[in-house]
Subunit: 305 residues, 2 copies
């Protein structure tokens, strides 16, 4: 079933110990959509400037991603630049030019409004709410947020989260949002805010899924080389929601159970791990579904006992 993804489509400048790219396709919605498109049909809602390259449109289109909701306005596309530390566990933002993204006010094409799956990438909570209210047959809604909204727009964020089925955030954000250092207690507090399903991402260490009173601990894949971690968290999100949408799993049909969610988390980890193997979205230019399934089996092999 179709998945609507809202978020940033951007250009990134990235420097890692393996090299430097001044400008490449990036943005949360880009990674989420590219990863999810391996599993389901994807529709993007985002805004780009008139500098957005035809080849980048082509890449997304070539994956069957619906770009009717990709608004193009006069000005420049959102640009972010950052540099990673030698061990790649820290990154410093060098530049954030919101450009046309500063006035982003997502409007859904009529063809998007009856879709059942919605992933709200990290944008202002009020805008996330606005998108949700434009959809009339939602069966599964969730998304992402960040420290900026947790600290700066807490009430607005809490009102937004109340309507979500799931939330994906990283461990430091979960601690900030809940005020609890302990992950289990943090999760319980966040679940009480609305999302019954919570995925806490832990970077190289994997992720923990909390669903009602169950939890599932997924390891991070041990890559022999982390080339560029940019977009790994968003690729995780794309694999997670893409798998659920592709399988048609929803709370109302009773199939969105802990077993399905566990598999979704592993597909998320798989997609995040592939993302790190090359600069930016490059790994997704060649990645095949067969490679995804092979890595899923590798996860089974390196965790079963």
């Amino acid at each position: 079933m179709s998945l609507v993804v809202v978020g940033s489509v951007a250009y990134d400048g990235v420097e890692t110990p393996h090299g430097k790219i001044d400008r490449m396709l990036g943005g949360a919605a880009t990674y989420i959509a590219l990863a999810a498109a391996y599993f389901t049909s994807v529709k993007v809602v985002a805004v780009v400037g008139d500098d957005f390259a035809a080849e980048d449109v082509s890449l997304l289109s070539s994956r069957g991603i619906d770009l009717d909701g990709l608004e193009r306005v006069a000005g420049k596309t959102f640009f972010w630049a950052g540099v990673y530390s030698a061990d790649m566990n820290e990154r410093t933002t060098l530049r954030t030019d919101l450009n046309v993204f500063a006035d982003f006010n997502p409007k859904l094409p009529p063809s998007y409004r009856s879709d059942p799956y919605l992933f709200l990438g990290n944008i202002q909570p009020a805008l996330q709410q606005g998108v949700r209210s434009q959809m009339d047959r939602l069966q599964l809604t969730g998304g992402d947020t960040m420290n900026y909204w947790i600290n700066g727009s807490r009430d607005e964020l809490l009102e937004t989260l109340r309507q979500w089925d799931f939330l994906l955030i990283n461990d430091s954000e979960a601690r900030m949002l809940s005020g609890e250092h302990n992950l289990r207690r943090a999760a319980a507090k966040i679940q009480a805010m609305g999302p019954r399903t919570l995925v806490i991402k832990r970077g190289e260490y994997g992720a923990v899924l909390f669903h009602r009173d169950h939890h599932f601990i997924a390891p991070g894949y041990l890559l022999e080389e982390v080339f560029d971690p940019t977009g790994a968290g968003d690729s995780f999100a794309g694999g997670f929601i893409g798998y659920l949408a592709g399988q048609g799993l929803t709370p109302s049909n009773g199939h969105l159970d802990i077993a399905a969610l566990r598999r979704a988390v592993i597909y998320g980890s798989v997609m995040g791990s592939f993302c790190c193997e090359k600069f930016g979205v490059d790994r997704f230019r060649t990645l095949t579904r067969e490679e995804i399934e092979a890595r899923y089996r590798e996860f089974e092999d390196c965790t079963e006992f």
Copy 2:
């Protein structure tokens, strides 16, 4: 089959956000032996001063731990004191009084010399070698080390490791020993130094087992409350080697395979998680084998997909 454990038996002063204890039973060999004794018969080689309390001897004896190798000399028992940060991810050493441990030169009682399993806790590599050379029917040898020896006695350590079947260290030590940040590459280099089996501990994130060309990623148990992490790594070691010894698994009988090692790592994680639930060794005063098995099943439940 019997396991000989060599290392420190000490008194610790510990402060965590949950409280402060000025003096309690501690030391690597203590934790290793207490944890391993749930699975197999254990013999300790260590040194204490004449201040070592009868009640602490009683605790160890009550678990069937053989103390013929516990040397008692004039002077004070090794004392360590430290304080944990608010999130308990860092600790600062406040005091290290080696006392009688400064002249520790382990001598094995004749009744220990024909045992098949040897765990060499973190002491000077030359002393670890000396212990090993006193044993004549070893089937499985391994142990622990630390940054102090990796940096300060590298050649001596490398000579020692060459004779080990397995090594347990934490991730920062693995990186220091190998000179590689990437865990898989670090593991390959360390395995080439001798130990074909390597367990890299990652604190709250669990551990990774490398055995020949396999690896297994074990999660850390998600405790609702970490009371005191002191001794958790040593309790992990005790669970790991205790399980292998208890089952009589050795390289020569062909049963020390990847499946057995995976189970050993989970038992290690189980014992490490229990250790954190109370101050010092307190959790081991009441812990039962049934609780251990129940937590092992919890590990299965929170990792399978």
